[in-house]
Structures are given as C-alpha cells and as structure tokens.
C-alpha cells in the first residue's frame, strides 16, 4: 500500500480558512454531542410517556403505546430521517412545508428529533419491562394507601423501574450517540461528516477516521462512567441490584 502517513495533518490549516483540521473535527465533535444530548432528552421524555402507556391496564392506552413502539422501531433509522427531512415537508400543506424547509439548522433539528423518536421506542420497551418486573403488590400497596395512579407511578413504580433498567439504558444512551452519525446523510456535518470532509480535503483518510474513532470512544467512555456513577449513587442499601 502506497499511503503517505502524516499525523501532523491535524495541526495544519484546513481549507475553510478557519483554524486547523483538528478544529474542524472538534467542531464536529461538539455538534455530535449537542445532537446526541438533545436526542437523548427527547428519547427519555417520549420513552417514559409511552412506556407508562404500555404498562397501564387500559386497553386503549396500551394499544396506543404498542402502535407507537412498532412504528418507530420497525423502520430503519436512515429511512426515518429521510422521511422527516425529505418527505414530511412535501406531505404538509405548501406553506407549512416551505416554512419547514427554510428553517435554519434544519438538519440538526431533524437529526435530534429523528434519532430521539427512534430511540424513544427502545426506551419505552425497556421502561415497560422494568415496570412489569416489579412485584404486583407494589402497585396495590400504593393504591391501597390512597395514592392516585399518577402518584403511584411518580413516587413508587418509576423510581424503582428506572433503577432496574439503568444498565440497558446506558447502552441506549451509547446507541444514541453513535446513531447521530446517520445524520450525515441529511447534511449534518457532525463528527463523521467532518472526518469525511477532512478526508476529501487532505486525502489523509486513516488519520481522519482514527481521530473520529478516538473521539467517539472518548464520548462513550464519559457516558459509561457517568451512568455507572449515577447507578451507584442511586443504589439502594441491601437491595439485590444495589451494592
């Protein structure tokens, strides 16, 4: 292989005229972090609502939850992003579609919302499983004390269910970070996008993607460490899952 390694490339000025190639990658890194965090917040909020719906005794509620989950988890993420970005504006009335297309930062918002909704289906399934894993008597005890259904969820069921699903939730958080890279296809120049741009400008493909890999790894190590810390601080003395 006739490849010209050049690890100094990161400190050479990039052709956009603003800083070095490293600056290019770091700006992509920030965009990845911003997109992932917003997507994760959306995933948690919608996942919690839908997870609760799926665990309610009401047939209508669990049917709504079922449809939501199956819609978002059975379509490839790439297709979903295309749907939101290219198809949705065409389906809306002309004025609304036009407004949507002209929104500033459209790829960012589409990616965050699209990845967030995709991940929310997974969070919902896990939360519903976490709630289902609690002894039936917990809900009965809350009800018998006079707590309403909402209070029972808020003070009794959810605090335990979230503790139980903390390890798989960590994985979903990591997946959220990694899935933001799909947004390159709708023009979001995040970390993967910047690595590709660097490759195209400098032809140093291996350096560019090595750096991107290290950066993804770094984000995810921080996520794992943070979640482990959270898990520990929420552990219940004497309880089986706690230490």
């Amino acid at each position: 292989m006739n490849y010209n390694w050049n690890w100094h490339i990161f400190f050479e000025p990039n052709p956009t005229g603003a800083g070095t190639y490293l600056d290019l990658l770091v700006s992509g890194l920030w965009l990845t972090i911003k997109t992932a965090l917003l997507a994760w917040v959306i995933a948690l909020i919608f996942g919690t609502i839908v997870g609760i719906l799926r665990s309610l005794p009401s047939k209508a509620a669990s049917w709504v939850g079922f449809c939501y989950v199956e819609f978002f988890r059975n379509m490839p993420l790439l297709v979903q992003l295309f749907l939101w970005f290219f198809v949705l504006p065409e389906l809306l009335p002309r004025a609304a579609g036009l407004w949507l297309k002209q929104l500033p930062n459209a790829p960012f918002w589409t990616a965050a919302i699209g990845v967030g909704l995709f991940m929310s289906a997974r969070v919902a399934v896990q939360l519903a499983a976490g709630i289902a894993s609690l002894p039936r008597g917990q809900k009965q005890a809350a009800t018998a004390l006079g707590l309403t259904t909402a209070q029972g969820y808020r003070y009794v069921l959810l605090p335990m269910a979230f503790r139980i699903i903390m390890p798989p939730l960590t994985s979903e958080f990591l997946n959220t970070v990694k899935n933001t890279s799909v947004a390159i296809t709708i023009g979001l120049i995040e970390l993967t996008g910047q690595a590709r741009a660097m490759q195209e400008f400098s032809f140093q493909v291996f350096e560019a993607f090595t750096a991107a890999t290290v950066m993804y790894l770094a984000i995810n190590i921080i996520v794992v460490t943070g979640m482990r810390f959270l898990e520990r601080s929420l552990a219940i003395p004497g309880y089986i899952t706690g230490k």
Binding site: T143, L145, I236, G238, G242
Partner: protein, 243 residues
C-alpha cells in the same frame, strides 16, 4: 362498618372466584377469614377497598358504596389500612419515608407532622431504631411491623390484613401477631385473612370459612371452634389443628 352483600366475581367469562358472598364487619369487630388456598379469601378482602373489581353485588364501607363509579376511590382507600402478605414496603424509600409518603401526598400533612406521626407509630411497633434504614435491611417480621405502622399512619377507620404472616419464618410470626393483638384490643375494626387459628381464637369475634369462592360458614368464634356446622369447615379445622 363493612357491608358485603351478594358479591359475585368472575375471572374471564367462565371462572367464578366469588359466589354470592354476603357478610359484614361491625365497628370494633375483628373478623378472621380462613379457608383452603384458592378459596377466594384474598380476593374478597381486596374487593373491600376496590383493589379488585367485582361484577355483581355491592360493598358498603362506612356508608360509602365501593362499587359506585362516582365514589372517589383514592380518598376512600386512604381511610382503610391494608397489610399484604409480602409487606410491599417501597424499597427505594427509608422506613420513615415509607410512613410519610401517603400522609403527605394523600392526606396533605406537612413533612414535620408526618414524621412526628411516623415516629410515634414506629415506636409503637418497636421499630423506631430502624427509622433511617431501607426495607431490604430489615427482616421479614420487622418489615411487616413497619407495613402495619405505615397503614396506621393514615388513621384508618378499619384495617384489612391479607395473610400477614404467611411469608414469615415461624419465629417472626409472633412479633407481628403481637402487634395485631394489641391493635384488636384497642378496638380497631379488623378483617384478617389468616391461617393463624391461635390468633383467631384469641381475638376474633367471628370467623368466616370460605371454600371454592363461597362463604361456607360465618359464625361466632366459640361456635366455629366448638362445633362448626359444615363438614368442609370441620375437615379444614381437623387438618390444620392436628399438628
């Protein structure tokens, strides 16, 4: 206090768990419900505070119809204490917090007020030293005593016990029964599902014997232990009293 009349309940279209159950518990009365497993005694007691719905008949609790859609069930349930076979303390809350939760969220007591009340009741069941522990750090008997204190913290007009000692080691049974006997002597209205015939003969006013969803025998304590009228009750008693 508790009027149960002609209650019928089915699981699914064909399995009838309760068959035309009629009985009552007067103010200050202690009624023990016994019978073989699967006889519907737990189901019956859970119908009293509407943890289990039933299809026919009616239950009136302190003048309020339980199976009336207009009844504010959380409010009604808050006035009846319930103790479960598996304690059902909330594992993520400290003992004192377990006692305070419903006092604050349902009765609207201030935190200080709730803690004061909780402390008093923990003292009464001999658990004050454990107020800041978590449920998983206590033995079964201790957890059940806390569960009784939690129910009492709501100032209930009646207490329902669903096999409160069935999940306990023999040596822990007496510490729980002691608390229940004290409660009975103080004039608490109690409906107790239990196999503890010693407890029944000591404090019960009446004993109800159930089999296959029916109330087979509903007699004064002395009559029940002296000469039960039904053959099934005689058989049941001879089996559990022979050892």
């Amino acid at each position: 206090m508790i009027e149960i009349s002609h209650v019928n309940k089915w699981y699914g279209p064909s399995f009838q768990v309760l068959k035309d159950c009629t009985t009552s518990v007067a103010k200050g009365e202690v009624v023990v419900v016994c019978g073989p497993s699967g006889s519907g005694k737990s189901t019956l007691i859970k119908c009293v505070n509407a943890l289990e719905p039933f299809q026919e008949g009616q239950i009136i609790l302190d003048g309020i119809k339980v199976n009336d859609p207009k009844t504010d069930l959380p409010k009604l349930r808050a006035r009846v204490g319930m103790v479960f076979q598996h304690f059902e303390l909330f594992p993520h809350l400290r003992i004192i917090e377990n006692l305070c939760l419903a006092q604050e969220k349902v009765l609207g007591r201030s935190h200080d007020e709730a803690v004061a009340k909780g402390d008093k009741l923990l003292e009464r069941v001999g658990m004050k030293a454990h107020a800041n522990k978590y449920p998983a750090e206590l033995s079964g008997g201790q957890q059940q005593r806390v569960a009784i204190a939690r129910a009492l913290a709501m100032d209930p007009i009646a207490m329902l016990f669903d096999e409160p000692t069935s999940a306990l080691d023999p040596e822990m049974i007496s510490e729980v029964l002691d608390v229940m006997v004290d409660l009975a002597h103080e004039g608490m209205t109690m409906m107790v599902v239990t196999h503890e015939m010693g407890f029944a003969s000591k404090v019960a006013n009446r004993v109800i014997f159930m089999d296959k969803g029916e109330i087979v025998e509903d007699a004064q304590k002395t009559d029940f232990f002296g000469s039960p009228r039904s053959e099934r009750a005689q058989k049941f008693l001879s089996k559990i009293l022979s050892h």
